[in-house]
């Protein structure tokens, strides 16, 4: 019995000592979690899949994000990320006040379609005053006006094998040695068809400014800001996200952020 007590006591001492050294050594020993292909990190990332599945199960596909009253618009929409794309294509469009702009629906559809800005403005209008939540932690309330993406998808007739919508953008969010990296995003079809998922061309009752994504920014109101691509030019219906960018479904996802973005 005394033998047992001794080992038990030693065990307690050793575990206490190792626990305190863990804390005292600071957190640099967890820096390996920052490398994007680390195996431990891959295990931890499974929690993001769980979040996505649970939220999709818990939240009805048509459930709306809260819409606020006009009195809650107390400031301009804070621009973040790309605020002035410098690609030649985009600069040419700006020079002509987006008269040559076309939004294209491509990929797994019965017929590829495209729309000018005027055509989009003449489609059914939806305005919503919503809260924009940035992954950094801040929020900003603004009024967004545009036409639901679902109407365009219906015109293009999405094929049943399509599982995701990929959103291609004009902005060179990052420049690398091998050239510009263009922003892109993607969502499942629940978010693509959601009634509040609008192709917005108006912000707070004015034309959408360049800093906020002119001429078109897609709103996905039940997700964080990085899921709401600015400077959008093509919506491509696909069944696989791996061919795009580094294969994670978006510019920020390729940089280690979660794909669902609803939390």
């Amino acid at each position: 019995m005394s033998q047992l007590q001794l080992t038990r006591r030693r065990f307690l001492g050793v575990s206490a000592a190792s626990a305190s050294s863990l804390v005292l050594a600071g957190c640099e020993q967890f820096d390996f979690l920052g490398s994007r292909d680390n195996e431990v990190r891959n295990v931890l990332e499974m929690a993001n899949t769980l979040t996505y599945k649970v939220q999709r199960g818990l939240i009805g596909d048509q459930v709306m994000a809260r819409e606020y009253s006009a009195s809650e618009i107390r400031q301009g929409q804070k621009p973040n990320g790309s605020t002035d794309p410098t690609t030649p294509e985009y600069k040419a469009l700006v020079a002509n006040d987006f008269a040559d702009y076309r939004l294209k629906i491509t990929g797994m559809v019965e017929q590829e379609v495209s729309f000018s800005l005027d055509e989009l403005r003449n489609m059914p209008v939806r305005s919503q005053i919503t809260r924009h939540d940035c992954v950094e932690g801040w929020s900003c309330i603004a009024k967004w006006t545009g036409t639901p993406l679902s109407g365009l998808l219906d015109q293009a007739k999405v094929r049943p094998e399509a599982r995701f919508a990929v959103y291609h953008c004009f902005d060179n969010i990052q420049r690398s040695l091998s050239g510009d990296i263009l922003y892109y995003e993607s969502s499942d079809l629940v978010d693509a068809y959601h009634p509040q998922s609008i192709l917005s061309y108006g912000l707070n009752d004015e034309a959408l400014p360049i800093a906020n994504g002119a001429p078109i920014r897609l709103r996905i109101e039940r997700a964080l800001g990085y899921k709401q691509p600015k400077f959008l030019h093509t919506v491509e219906l696909v069944d696989d996200l791996s061919p795009f960018g580094k294969g994670k479904g978006g510019y920020w996802e390729d940089n280690g952020y979660d794909w669902y973005g609803g939390i």
Binding site: G26, L44, L50, Q75, R222, G262
Partner: protein, 282 residues
């Protein structure tokens, strides 16, 4: 203190005090809260300001806490503004690191996972341990309702309230009664942690999710907006850190070997006179 009791001739009985559920959930939580705290501070550093309301005031004032760096005549300084009052917090908040290589960040590298600025990884770590924390809490509540831990040790009775003044006096003079159930102050603290702080930190965390806000919009009303929820989340974090510090002090004061043993093996050396149950040695 513990050793004195254990070697005293009037040794109390060794009782089986903590069930396997209490012990396992305790250590899983300890690990979870460690990672949640340090990854949470990493996430906070991405925007080291807290606000009251639905949104963050960029063109109006609703911040209650701001951590930032400013350039002064004597070089850069780290500043913290709390309720409009500005403090110089160089070295810890706003500016840390070495004089040669200052780092301009909210909380210093030693308090974040990873040590460098990496919001994406902070989120991965935070959400993994948040899930583990919540699932463990579910197990604890189920087990503790069934095995009586909540009724015996956590729920505060009128009798406990009446015993608070004496318990404060006992704590102040480091006189601890090692019984089968918890004392009044212990019950009050654990009740506060399990039934107030834990639910609050989970619900305010969920309120920051735009997805959850659409399903449960009442969360936004209960907490007074997403940004208020974020502020409450932060405040509850500081309260849990305060609980942790007092918890460790009390373990050391009450006899660390005996306390740690009970939380690892379940067996606890009670004060003399404690009645024993079947299987326990008087």
């Amino acid at each position: 203190m513990a050793d004195v009791i254990e070697t005293a001739p009037t040794k109390g009985p060794l009782i089986y005090r903590q069930s396997i559920f209490t012990r396992v959930t305790h250590w899983v939580w300890a690990i979870c809260l460690f990672f949640l705290l340090l990854s949470g501070l990493q996430i906070f550093n991405a925007h080291p300001s807290l606000y009251i309301g639905q949104q963050s005031g960029f063109e109006f004032e609703n911040a209650v806490l701001e951590i930032y760096a400013v350039n002064t005549d004597d070089g850069p300084r780290g500043k913290t503004k709390l309720f409009g009052q500005e403090f110089d917090t160089s070295g810890v908040l706003g500016m840390s690191g070495t004089e040669q290589r200052p780092a301009f960040r909210g909380f210093p590298a030693a308090l974040t996972i990873p040590s460098f600025q990496d919001l994406a990884t902070g989120r991965v770590v935070h959400f993994f341990f948040a899930w583990t924390f919540v699932l463990t809490m579910f197990v604890w509540f189920m087990a503790s309702f069934i095995n009586g831990h909540i009724r015996r040790d956590i729920v505060v009775t009128p009798n406990d309230i009446r015993g608070v003044p004496k318990d404060i006096k006992d704590h102040a003079t480091l006189k601890f009664r090692h019984g089968r159930s918890y004392g009044p102050l212990q019950k009050l603290s654990y009740f506060g942690v399990f039934f107030i702080l834990f639910p609050l930190i989970i619900l305010t965390g969920l309120t920051m999710s735009p997805g959850i806000d659409s399903a449960w919009p009442w969360l936004l009303d209960v907490f007074g907006g997403r940004q208020t929820a974020r502020t409450i989340h932060f405040v509850v974090m500081t309260l849990l850190v305060a609980f942790f510090i007092i918890h460790i002090i009390m373990v050391v004061a009450a006899g660390p070997i005996n306390e740690l043993r009970s939380m690892i093996t379940g067996w606890y050396r009670a004060s003399p006179g404690t009645t024993t149950e079947e299987g326990e040695q008087p």
